[in-house]
């Protein structure tokens, strides 16, 4: 892993995303800086996934500007994303990772070593030859993480990586996230699991109805949220 992230900071300046008449993100300004994981929280439909896609560079803003380390048209080569429901290629675990290594233009002489390293990191070494689509949900998420990390990213976006996983599978994913973050990869993840946000976040961004209602370091945020929406969300009230 690289010590210094290259695409950071990611700066969103007054970014709006419209889908027809619907405003999915409205006037979002945000800076994602190097450091511990940035966690996006908010109810379903608040714009978390859209924000991740914009920051990844998959979705161009309707208005506003996104820059990666000051560059607007930055190559996505050092960014990776794991979707909430990752699609497994119809091939073995090992071949899925090799595909990602090829896609990332990693020299083939290094594939075997990187493959072993990645499978070990996500704990799938024993399942290397198993068809990816036969894995459990948690194992598929770990394989998706290995594929994303094959790109040797400086920033890793994760969209609800533990949604619908049991506690053991959730812990396995969170351990990987901590390990990756400790190696200097900036993790930006969406979740609506407050416990997970508390366990992982270095800073928190609260989204509601497509707007950032609060962005703060994790500790002060969980101790004393500044907005009514954040307080309601933390209190477990239904935020409509």
């Amino acid at each position: 892993m690289r010590a210094m992230p290259a695409d950071l900071p990611i700066r969103l300046d007054d970014v709006t995303i419209r889908a027809g008449a619907v405003t999915v993100l409205g006037g979002v300004s945000l800076v994602i800086a190097p450091g511990a994981p940035t966690v996006l929280i908010g109810p379903n439909g608040s714009g978390k996934t859209t924000l991740l896609r914009v920051a990844m560079g998959l979705l161009p803003p309707s208005t506003g500007v996104v820059t990666w380390d000051g560059v607007a048209e930055a190559s996505p080569a050092r960014r990776a994303i794991v979707f909430q429901r990752p699609v497994m290629l119809r091939r073995s675990v090992e071949s899925n990772v090799r595909y990602a290594l090829n896609a990332a233009h990693i020299p083939s002489a290094r594939h075997d070593a990187r493959l072993a390293e990645l499978l070990s990191l996500v704990g799938l070494d024993a399942l290397a030859l198993r068809p990816a689509r036969k894995l459990s949900g948690g194992e598929q998420q770990r394989l998706a993480l290995a594929r994303a990390l094959a790109r040797d990213p400086s920033v890793l976006f994760l969209d609800e990586p533990t949604a619908s996983l049991d506690p053991a599978a959730t812990k396995a994913i969170e351990d990987i996230i901590r390990a990756v973050s400790a190696r200097g990869v900036k993790v930006v993840m969406a979740t609506h699991d407050l416990g997970e946000a508390r366990r992982l976040a270095g800073d928190v961004v609260v989204l509601h109805r497509g707007r950032v209602v609060e962005a703060a370091d994790a500790e002060p945020f969980f101790h004393s949220p500044q907005t009514a929406e954040a307080r309601a969300f933390l209190a477990g009230d239904l935020l409509l």
């Binding site: 998959l58 979707f83 119809r90």
Partner: protein
């Protein structure tokens, strides 16, 4: 083929004339399917992934061409390959090659149209992942063809079914010459017109058995592949 022999005798004794007809039928149809796959699958994939003006018209036309009348294709290929036609100098008319050309024209739209639909559906599923991995256009096509390989087998089988059952095109461009361009379907047509119904029925049963056998083999291969690849 002995004129008095029953169809069953011919099959059970491995009559050399019958075997030659079966061999030629399979060679022509399988060659046509292979060529049509080489043309139709990449073409279908490109149509599935590219966005251009008139794309929907191309899709409608492609789907319509699945119903190309074999006799019309036979006539067109005949005109192309006849001595006075533009490709007459190739000397292909009334040869198995001409039959392969005609069947390739018939089968390609079927494989291309089914491949287009299969790969377009896969693209909906895979678009986010492949885009996030920064996969280029050619690699996308190759990836989706590989990911759709089990569904594409069905497209190949549909193409083979069309080719194996077809008589109108190959009888025009092949001429139904005994020992040279006579296939099962053209032989059935001939024997029926001669009134030798038992032989025609026997050949028909052999044809159906072969088609079922090939489909069964493809099904088993597909099942085995899916078990291994997930």
């Amino acid at each position: 083929m002995h004129p008095d022999a029953s169809a069953l005798d011919l099959v059970l004794t491995g009559d050399p004339t019958l075997l030659a007809i079966v061999r030629l039928s399979l060679a022509v149809s399988l060659s046509a399917v292979a060529l049509a796959a080489l043309i139709g699958i990449p073409f279908g994939a490109v149509i599935a992934l590219m966005r251009f003006r008139g794309r929907e018209a191309v899709i409608v036309l492609l789907n319509a061409l699945m119903g190309l009348p074999p006799v019309v294709v036979g006539l067109a290929v005949y005109l192309l390959l006849s001595r006075s036609g533009p490709l007459g100098s190739w000397g292909l008319l009334f040869t198995p090659s001409a039959m392969v050309v005609a069947q390739t024209i018939l089968v390609t739209p079927i494989i291309a149209a089914l491949a287009r639909q299969t790969i377009e559906d896969l693209w909906t599923e895979y678009r986010d992942e492949l885009t996030a991995m920064n996969i280029g256009p050619l690699a996308r096509v190759l990836t989706l063809i590989w990911e759709g390989r089990f569904s594409l087998v069905v497209a190949l089988l549909a193409g083979f079914g069309r080719a194996a059952a077809e008589v109108g095109a190959i009888i025009i461009v092949g001429g139904n010459i005994e020992g040279f361009t006579r296939t099962m379907t053209t032989a059935i047509a001939l024997e029926t017109s001669k009134g030798d119904l038992p032989l025609a029925i026997g050949l028909g049963l052999v044809l159906i058995a072969i088609v079922v056998l090939i489909n069964a083999c493809a099904w088993l291969l597909r099942r085995a592949g899916e078990r291994l690849a997930g």
